[in-house]
Amino acid sequence: MALENKLITADVVEIQEFPKLARTYNVTSVPKTVINNVVQFNGALPEDQFLNKVLGIGYRELESNGKGA
């Protein structure tokens, strides 16, 4: 998904090499996905559900005066 928009950055983290990070994010099973430290889920999601989570974080309607919500 990162390839489609410059505002999206994707990290893949191998937790065996970074155990502190695994504890910080309470990773008990893999894969675990965390988006903007706000949304997190275990396992793989179907593409449309993953997309909805990304849009929920990354898309905001513009107000009529052009400012973001």
């Binding site: 998904m1 990162a2 390839l3 489609e4 928009n5 410059k6 505002l7 999206i8 950055t9 994707a10 990290d11 893949v12 983290v13 191998e14 937790i15 065996q16 090499e17 970074f18 990070l21 695994a22 994010y25 990773v27 893999v30 894969p31 675990k32 996905t33 965390v34 988006i35 903007n36 430290n37 593409e47 449309d48 997309l51 990304v54 849009l55 974080i57 990354g58 898309y59 905001r60 513009l62 973001g68």
Partner: protein, 131 residues
């Protein structure tokens, strides 16, 4: 592969003294893996940076730990791999390189259209283990 892909690898430079907090036991192996990979195709350009001394590149790519492998897509978006991409993760890593080389992700057309609407930063972290 279609287009060229630049692979930016961040590691630490081994030294005689062991400095706590600067250890990176998988850095040498990651470096060898990527050197071998880059040698397989003239379209792969491997650039290597020291995490602690080459801070401009480190900050530009937002690298926070090592070993780190950064792939930059044509749109300017970043894919970062932290740790050595071993086992099943190597296949996923190659898929990332392939997608960047082709200039298109393997997502459905509708998904790609909707992702272009994203107008706020989204940072996706996926935690994995090699298997």
């Amino acid at each position: 592969m279609k287009g060229n892909v630049t692979i930016s690898l961040f590691t630490t430079t081994p030294s005689v003294l062991a400095i706590p907090g600067r250890e990176c036991p998988t850095c040498p192996e990651t470096q060898k893996l990527l050197q071998d990979l880059a040698g397989l195709s003239p379209k792969l350009d491997l650039k290597q940076y020291d995490f602690f001394s080459e801070t401009e590149e480190r900050d530009r790519y937002g690298v926070e730990r090592v070993p780190a492998i950064v792939l930059e897509a044509q749109a300017g978006s970043l894919l970062r791999y932290y740790g050595i991409p071993a086992g099943y993760e190597f296949a996923m890593f190659l898929e990332g390189i392939n997608s960047i080389s082709r200039g298109v992700s393997p997502l459905a057309l509708d998904t790609r259209k909707k992702l272009r609407k994203v107008n706020h930063p989204v940072h996706i972290q996926v935690f994995v283990t090699p298997s």
